[in-house]
């Protein structure tokens, strides 16, 4: 049975699109047929992060409006056969996300895919509600700082009250916390909240901790999901999170400050 997973946060700039790309790629690497949908109508970015921006012909809104069919709009990733990208429109706005249209498209995708990853826009308005409404599971992306945590708390409340599962009194949307841009060194200096602080406030299961890493920016700029980069700590942390999402036990890495080697201490800042 296909699973609809929303990547959401409330706050902007915390790493939803990066996470959507990395998570979808991670699931594809594990052999699951996965599609990632950009719900950020009018602020299209997912295609850039996935490196397929020059192959977009039709988009999500075209399919919702019946101007194109699904297979015309889906873009197959060149690096992994299990991975598909469903870009959105840059010229329309969120009002184009008609609920029955989204429902129809998701139902159609469920026939072909194991996982449908919905990259939510920021905010708690129509766009974000559209992205989370049909979700079976949610990944709440949070940075270790108070405003991000508070906005995540708000979006968890909305998932519990305004999703289709809530409206139909079905089992609730499965909640997972992903802490991103975590910098253990700054945490130990007290400049960032600890993972424990965030968990204490949000009290939902922790899926993973993604360390702040240059490789994320590099991956974005080159249009590669960071989980394809197995050499980078962030990429490995995403693969761990995907494994936990699939029910495996993995130890939490990258939450302690990196031990500085003798030479690094000697030769300064590193």
């Amino acid at each position: 049975m296909a699973k609809v997973v929303v990547i959401t946060s409330g706050k902007g700039g915390v790493g939803k699109t990066t996470t959507s790309a990395a998570f979808a790629a991670g699931l594809a690497l594990r052999g699951h047929k996965t599609v990632v949908i950009d719900f950020d109508v009018g602020l299209r970015n997912l295609d850039l992060i996935m490196g397929c921006e020059r192959r977009v012909v039709f988009d999500f809104i075209n399919v919702i409006n019946g101007d194109a069919n699904l297979n015309q709009a889906l873009i197959k990733d060149k690096r992994n056969d299990n991975l598909y990208i469903f870009p959105t429109s840059q010229t329309r706005d969120k009002d184009a996300l008609k609920r029955d249209g989204v429902d129809r498209v998701l139902e159609e995708l469920k026939q072909q895919f194991d996982y449908i990853i919905c990259d939510s826009p920021a905010g708690i308005e129509h766009g974000a509600i559209s992205a989370l409404y049909f979700a079976d599971a949610a990944i709440i992306v949070t940075n270790p700082e108070v405003s991000s945590v508070r906005d995540s708390d708000r979006i968890i409340g909305i998932l519990a009250s305004r999703s289709r599962r809530a409206e139909r009194s079905e089992p609730p949307v499965e909640l997972n916390l992903l802490v991103t841009r975590y910098d253990p060194a700054r945490v130990s200096k007290g400049e960032m909240l600890t993972v424990e602080d965030v968990l204490e406030i949000l009290s939902i299961p922790l899926l993973g901790v993604i360390p702040e890493s240059e490789s994320v920016l590099r991956a974005s700029n080159t249009g590669t999901p960071v989980s394809f980069d197995e050499d980078s700590p962030a990429g490995r942390a995403y693969l761990d999170a995907v494994a936990r999402f699939l029910g495996e036990q993995r130890e939490m890495r990258f939450v302690q400050p990196e031990r500085r080697g003798f030479f690094k201490v000697l030769f300064g800042r590193a």
Binding site: I124, R154, A160
Partner: protein
């Protein structure tokens, strides 16, 4: 004083019986009355008494009543003696629901907290209303109102969440949001929580904001009561 956000106050409000609105002579009489003392009636708040007026059932009718009174520069702000369905329809038209005044004259004009139709399901008038019980975390942005009864929460209450009860509030977990007990004026109401980290606590309109809470009580299980008009926090 910083942030007079939540404060109780008593107001004199004109009550118009809903039945009168349908009386053709009512408008003439109202016009005459207003002519006699125009300044008294200018933009005065009005509450519509729905006793015996079951016919008022849709939001449209409340909107029409609001417009009719508006023609005389009267502001319809709420309804009283409303049936549960009427409370909902009135809320839809943006009207508050006031507690009926016959039984307790001393509380009649206490402004009711903002009605939240989704949060307060219409209860039947049972002999005793049992407390409202919440077992899931109360997330930021959520408002829960226990109308005419106590509120018990057995999970954390986040910053930015709001608990309102006409009776006592019990939180078995950290209280990080706002808690307003005795919301319709009961000065005997109390707040209990197993960890005080609240943004604001209030009983019967008296309140303390976070920075006024004694530092030595923060993070501890406490009981908050109104003693001699003062909010008093004792550690449990």
């Amino acid at each position: 004083m910083a942030g007079n956000l939540v404060q109780g106050a008593l107001f004199t409000v004109m009550v118009v019986r809903a039945g009168m609105l349908r009386d053709p002579e009512f408008q003439d009489e109202l016009a005459q009355q207003i002519e006699r003392s125009p300044r008294f009636f200018q933009n005065a708040p009005v509450v519509l008494d729905l006793k015996g007026a079951e016919a008022f059932a849709s939001a449209d009718e409340f909107v029409r009543a609001k417009e009719l009174l508006g023609q005389y520069a009267l502001a319809l702000v709420g309804v009283q003696n409303a049936l549960p369905a009427q409370v909902e329809a009135a809320a839809e038209a943006g009207l508050a629901s006031f507690a009926p005044n016959a039984t307790n004259p001393s509380r009649r004009q206490a402004p009711a907290p903002e009605p939240q139709p989704t949060a307060a399901p219409p209860e039947q008038r049972a002999a005793r209303t049992s407390a409202r019980l919440i077992t899931e975390p109360v997330r930021s942005g959520t408002q829960i109102y226990a109308r005419g009864t106590d509120l018990i929460v057995t999970a954390p209450v986040s910053t930015g969440a709001e608990l309102v009860a006409d009776g006592n509030i019990h939180v078995y977990g950290p209280l990080r949001g706002r808690a307003l007990a005795g919301a319709s004026g009961d000065a005997g109401a109390r707040i209990f929580c197993s960890r005080l980290e609240a943004e604001l606590v209030s009983i019967a309109g008296r309140y303390l904001v976070s920075e006024q809470l004694p530092a030595e009580q923060r993070g501890f299980p406490v009981e908050i009561a109104l003693v001699d008009e003062q909010l008093t926090i004792t550690r449990n």
